[in-house]
């Protein structure tokens, strides 16, 4: 491939930057691996899935309820947030008056910057008693899902709006010129054309939900028992780390780092699923 002189240097620089960006995760992975090593690669390793409960101070390390808790909260939060984010994005872009769209975007931008403690705090003081007055202790999977979905909504909405904005106006105009209604235009042109960006936003928000710590910690109840219902308390992997890391010693500490590794593996699986789905989609559409 022939390149401009400037471009040769430019690409070199870019490659360097790309390597830097890609390396960070490797470094983190390596860091976790070394910290988790004494636990993961000793006789304890299997205990993560075979022990009866999570009682690290007595040498019991069953992580399954916590993994389930993470899955439930994430799936729950994403399935609550996605319809709302999508609906509001479409509303802002196609139905609402322009000023509303602009105002809404600004508000979302600010909300995206609220520290997760504030969401957690608000959840703890407002939502937990609200749910408690209805059923259970209030600190539960349900509250966790609600707070988490609130947290990922602003960024999700913003990314969805951005994806819709990127659909070329020729296509939108062409559709309107056929006398098609807005909804037909959205359904057939805008959504498919922005699908890739939407999916990316979804993925980003799912990973964010998986990794979120503070807010979840404050409203979920954090019990390490198996969760059986919406009003039961759950603990997530990241809350587990945040709750216990400060006081954990030796094997307990290594077990916590192992749980961080488990978390990363979960994210990784999610990414693979996504890619698999992408491939399915592209073969279905018959696009090259």
């Amino acid at each position: 491939m022939y390149r401009h002189k400037v471009d040769i240097k430019f690409v070199g620089l870019l490659r360097l930057l790309v390597m830097l960006a890609a390396c960070i995760v490797l470094l983190i992975f390596g860091f976790l691996l070394t910290e988790a090593w004494p636990f993961l690669f000793s006789e304890h390793g299997g205990q993560l899935f075979t022990d009866a409960v999570w009682h690290p101070t007595t040498g019991q390390y069953n992580l399954v309820p916590v993994i389930l808790g993470t899955l439930y909260t994430t799936i729950g939060a994403v399935s609550v947030a996605v319809p709302f984010a999508l609906a509001t994005a479409i509303f802002c872009q196609f139905y609402a008056p322009r000023w509303f769209g602009r105002l809404y975007t600004s508000v979302m931008e600010v909300l995206a910057g609220i520290p997760s403690v504030v969401y957690g705090f608000w959840g703890l003081v407002v939502l937990v008693p609200l749910v408690a007055s209805w059923q259970g202790s209030g600190a539960s999977l349900l509250t966790g899902i609600l707070v988490l979905s609130l947290m990922i909504l602003p960024t999700g909405t913003l990314l969805a709006i951005a994806a819709l904005k990127q659909v070329p106006s020729e296509w939108i105009q062409g559709s309107y010129a056929l006398g098609l209604s807005r909804w037909a235009t959205i359904k057939n042109i805008a959504l498919p054309a922005s699908g890739h960006g939407m999916l990316n936003a979804l993925l980003l928000q799912s990973t964010r939900a998986i990794g979120e710590t503070m807010a979840v910690l404050m409203v979920c109840g954090n019990s390490t028992l198996f969760p059986f219902g919406l009003f039961e308390p759950v603990r997530t992997l990241s809350a587990n780390i945040a709750l216990e890391m400060a006081y954990a010693m030796e094997m307990h500490r290594a077990a916590l780092y192992s749980s961080a590794l488990v978390l990363m593996v979960m994210v990784f699986i999610l990414l693979f699923l996504n890619q698999f789905q992408n491939r399915l989609e592209s073969t279905a559409n018959g696009k090259s």
């Binding site: 062409g174 010129a177 006398g179």
Partner: protein, 282 residues
């Protein structure tokens, strides 16, 4: 988005919401139309009539506002940051009235754009999805697909790859696809913005024959740079010219009349290019 509408007296005899889908093609009459993009005036004092069931050609130099004019007629101008004044009557209704149901209006008015832009989907879906939106179902769909692709002479070229993306078609194929898409909805008025600009002579002939065939049953307003084409096809011609950077219609009337006895010196000059020989000027 803002839009100033003339609430003229003429309106009183009609309820503009109910743009009727009567069977016959309607006449289009443009009165005192002006258009400006954010303060920059592009068209002013446009007055002319496109007769029902006839072909009216709109000719004029590049940049004089022909495309902009067309976009007013089906209210696509709503989507641009432009300001429109005056009245456009289709049959008896002033379609610039804010209460007009623009969806019905646009369904009734087909448009083919200067730059062809198929949707990012398969060739088949490009035609079928608008139909489905309008409630056409089953076998009817496939039939309409084939009929319309045949009409524009594209069927044989694409019949084996109907499921391929429409975006990889050649320029001319894209334009014909857009024409077919527009026809599949059975509009009564056709706005054609240089429908043959990307086409070879064979396709041009197919499209010209098609346009000719659509006369009578459709009111056709077409922009063309090809004066020979205008002469061949059009019943009427409107000549749009720039004066002081603003476009206006300097002359309109029966084709033969305008071409052979141009009333306006600007028209005469413009039409003079039709026959110019390049080599001789060298």
């Amino acid at each position: 988005m803002t839009k100033s509408v003339a609430f003229g007296r003429k309106l009183q005899h009609t309820t503009p919401q109910d743009i009727s889908l009567q069977s016959g093609p309607p006449a289009i009459s443009i009165r005192n139309l002006g258009l400006s993009y954010g303060g920059h005036k592009v068209l002013k004092n446009i007055n002319f009539e496109a007769r029902a069931g006839k072909i009216t050609a709109l000719v004029g130099p590049s940049g004089c506002g022909k495309s902009s004019l067309l976009s007013v007629v089906n209210r696509l101008s709503d989507l641009q940051a432009c300001k429109v004044e005056g009245e456009v009557f289709i049959a008896e209704d002033n379609i610039l009235h804010s209460a007009v149901n623009v969806l019905k209006l646009r369904r009734r008015i087909g448009m083919v754009f200067q730059k062809p832009s198929p949707f990012p989907m398969s060739i088949r879906e490009n035609l079928l999805f608008p139909l489905r939106e309008y409630g056409v179902k089953g076998d009817q769909l496939e039939k309409t697909l084939e009929d319309n692709l045949r009409l524009v002479g594209l069927w044989d070229e694409v019949k084996t790859r109907l499921n391929d993306s429409a975006l990889v078609l050649s320029g001319g194929q894209q334009q014909r696809l857009c024409f077919a898409r527009c026809l599949s909805l059975n509009p009564k008025v056709l706005l054609l913005d240089e429908p043959c600009s990307a086409l070879d002579p064979r396709s041009t002939q197919i499209i010209e024959a098609l346009i000719w065939h659509l006369r009578e049953s459709h009111t056709i307003l077409m922009v063309t740079h090809n004066l020979a084409q205008a002469r061949r096809l059009a019943d009427d011609v409107a000549v749009c010219c720039l004066s002081d950077g603003v476009g206006s219609i300097v002359e309109s009337g029966k084709t033969a009349q305008v071409f052979d006895f141009p009333a306006h010196p600007v028209t005469a000059e413009y039409l003079g290019f039709e026959t110019a020989e390049v080599r001789s000027s060298d």
